[in-house]
């Protein structure tokens, strides 16, 4: 029992974070929003960093890492508001594909869209090379209709038939939870920086206790969502029977933390938070979008509710890490 990231895991996180801080700042989001919204150079950079092949076995050209590493990277993608379909392709679909496809995927030559009945849309379908649904891959359609998300950098399409697949749903919900956590962390950072700089009544607003307490409450929410995501990743990686419950729990906690971070961050920013000029809005919109993706709060709460209040899950204090 050692509930810490390994040195390798910390290095991975830091390397990705540093890269994205340098290459994928708010100015990139603005450029994408005013342009084509996807940029092959960004994709290439993420592939270059090894993210495409993160979960692909070494003999297929990947890094053969696991779900812990995947949620760490997903958190960084959320923190940087990356919108390329790298999370869907590399962190969700990759292990569910056949070996030859994994090879192309690790090389950055394959983009996979994910179709599941829980979502009324398919993300990034137009530029996908194939679609994963119901446990198999099918060709992407010639034509599809674009939907408009509140998040300008999200590309959603409809309609296309989708078949259920629990493994896909669980993995996708976990990776989405990690992205929500990252978005929440970034919003706390943005609001904290703003509170240090913005002055009213002759002093930084961050010196007012009301602002301090708002931001402290966000910090608490985020701090206690994080280990839920890590445990869920570990349990899923190790095939624990209760992993789906842990994933649902993590998705609920990450959603609540991110939405709370968004509402608090805009309150701290005041009217400025309401503008396109400050960067906050990109993350708020992503949080609102991901809140309902891959199972909304109601869906995931219900899964936990059935297990816990329904009595199917043993809940004595010694069961925290149980595998059954």
């Amino acid at each position: 029992m050692d509930f810490r990231l390994t040195e390798d895991q910390r290095n991975l996180r830091d390397v990705i974070r540093d890269y994205l801080d340098k290459e994928h700042g708010p100015e990139v989001l603005r450029r994408l929003d005013e342009g084509e919204r996807r940029d092959p150079a960004i994709w290439a950079g993420l592939v270059e960093m090894g993210i495409a092949g993160l979960l692909v076995p070494e003999n297929h050209g990947g890094l053969e890492m696991g779900l812990i590493e995947a949620v760490l990277v997903a958190t960084e993608l959320g923190r940087a508001n990356v919108s390329e379909s790298i999370a869907d392709t590399a962190l969700i679909a990759a292990p569910l594909l056949a070996g030859d496809r994994q090879e192309a995927l690790a090389a950055g030559e394959l983009r996979v869209a994910l179709a599941h009945p829980i979502n009324p849309w398919i993300a990034d379908l137009a530029n996908a090379d194939m679609v994963l649904t119901g446990g198999k891959t099918i060709a992407a359609p010639e034509q599809c209709e674009a939907l408009e998300s509140v998040d300008p950098l999200r590309l959603l399409y409809t309609p296309m038939s989708a078949d259920a697949d629990d493994a896909l749903l669980d993995r996708a919900a976990l990776i989405t939870a990690a992205q929500l956590l990252g978005a929440g962390e970034r919003m706390l950072d943005l609001a904290t920086e703003y509170a240090k700089m913005r002055e009213q009544f002759g002093q930084p607003i961050g010196s007012f206790q009301a602002i301090k307490h708002h931001l402290a409450s966000v910090a608490v929410k985020l701090e206690f969502a994080r280990p839920l995501i890590w445990r869920a990743a570990y349990a899923a990686q190790h095939g624990h029977a209760r992993a789906p419950i842990h994933i649902s729990h993590a998705k609920v906690a990450a959603t609540d933390a991110a939405v709370f971070a968004a509402e608090t961050a805009i309150q701290v920013h005041g009217a400025m938070g309401y503008t396109y000029e400050v960067d906050l809005h990109f993350w708020m919109k992503r949080a609102w979008a991901l809140a309902g993706a891959w199972g909304d709060r109601a869906f995931h709460r219900q899964r936990v509710d059935e297990a816990v209040l329904g009595g199917t899950l043993p809940i004595t204090p010694d069961q925290t890490f149980a595998s059954e």
Binding site: V150, A271, T275, A291, D296, A298
Partner: protein, 387 residues
């Protein structure tokens, strides 16, 4: 205490209802925050004025009906019951109009009030500045006296409606050596005056309801000043009092939101989580409570009472209620909450008004005095806690 409407009040309700049924646009107007939708909303203001429904609480002399606040509440109930549009004219009706009636000269009343009532002059606010948001006394924009004119320079921001409005009103520093609340004057000016530049602020959802206003030596007659030079702060506080008070936030509007939320819940009852179910019911209960409190305050105002810091209780309640109601709607919509257009059957779906409403509701606890400021006011002025 008498909670029954008089026969006259009931007749009035019937009159409003029948007019609204005949005149309210069948299809929703485009958003007030774009040019096209703004024009549609102005056309609706003129339609209202044609039925003499534009400024029902104003005196008849200025184009109103001289109704008391109870009839205003009845009017609003029928207005929202009928699904009528947002008011492009609300800065004029509720903020500037009452201010001119209280502080304006006869000439100012004649010049401004009737066109306002007719929907011919749409007003923008010019309060906030980049460094004077919650702290409005930090205003720097200045108006320098030059003969019979002021020459105005500076910048205002967060001006709602300014992108499309005709005139604006706001506070300017007429005494350059003054500090804080002193030396400010309340001045009206046309937004097409030479030296005025409007820069729409792109909001987070891409619309442009707010704007910055830049003033570069704009000449404005001294006659456009309301009340005395240097008396702007107290005039503005009276205006802010109206704003924070009940008039701008009609309870019927929130009751209509709650009603739509209950309908949305019924559509999603089988998948709603227990906390969302509870939140829906709470939103309805709170909208009721807000309506009752407003009737209570209105009854007191009719009887001559002055509403002071109590308005802060209202501001907090409606803004948090509105945010909670829309948050619950977002939860009910789940995976479709993020879509700007809800999936429909053949022929496409409808605009996701809940999403727009949620985003707008987040501004409620911020504008017109942030809820942090309102809680300070309650604590210090109503409860008497030390500053």
């Amino acid at each position: 205490m008498d909670l029954a409407f008089t026969p006259e009040q009931q007749e009035f309700r019937a009159e409003v209802r029948s007019w609204m049924e005949a005149h309210v646009p069948k299809a929703p107007l485009k958003t007030l925050e774009g040019r096209e939708g703004f024009d549609e909303h102005v056309a609706w203001e003129r339609e209202l004025a044609s039925g003499n429904w534009g400024m029902v609480t104003w005196p008849e002399a200025y184009g109103g009906r001289g109704l008391d606040l109870i009839r205003w509440l009845i009017f609003e109930e029928e207005y929202w019951r009928a699904g009528a549009p947002l008011r492009a004219n609300q800065n004029g009706i509720f903020l500037l109009g009452p201010t001119i009636m209280e502080y304006g000269t006869d000439e100012q009343k004649a010049k401004f009030l009737t066109p306002m009532a007719k929907g011919e002059l749409i007003w923008a606010q010019a309060w906030s500045e980049p460094n004077a948001g919650s702290d409005m006394a930090a205003i720097r924009s200045r108006a320098v006296r030059d003969g019979d004119d002021y020459v105005i320079s500076g910048q205002k921001t967060w001006s709602s409606r300014a992108a499309f409005a005709d005139w604006c009103f706001g506070l300017f520093r007429t005494d350059p050596d003054s500090k804080r609340h002193k030396g400010l004057s309340f001045i009206l000016l046309p937004l097409d005056a030479p030296g005025v530049t409007i820069r729409p602020i792109r909001q987070l959802h891409g619309e442009t309801g707010f704007a910055e206003i830049f003033f570069d030596e704009v000449r404005v007659p001294v006659a456009n000043r309301i009340a005395g030079e240097g008396e702007g702060w107290s005039v503005a506080m009276a205006t802010a009092g109206f704003e924070r008070g009940l008039m701008l936030r009609s309870p019927a509007r929130f009751q209509a939101v709650a009603q739509r939320l209950v309908a949305l819940y019924r559509q999603h009852a089988d998948t709603a989580s227990p906390d969302t179910r509870a939140a829906v019911l709470q939103a309805w209960m709170d909208a009721e409570a807000y309506a009752l409190n407003t009737y209570h305050v209105a009854s007191q105002v009719i009887a001559g009472a002055h509403i002071g810091a109590e308005a802060s209780l209202n501001k907090i309640f409606w803004s948090e209620l509105d945010r909670s109601a829309h948050r619950a709607a977002m939860s009910l919509l789940g995976a479709t909450a993020e879509l700007r257009t809800l999936p429909g059957g053949k022929g496409g779906g409808e605009e996701n008004a809940w999403l727009e409403g949620y985003i707008f509701s987040l501004s409620g606890p911020i504008y017109a005095g942030s809820n942090e400021i309102q809680r300070n006011i309650i604590a210090e002025r109503l409860l008497g806690l030390p500053r």
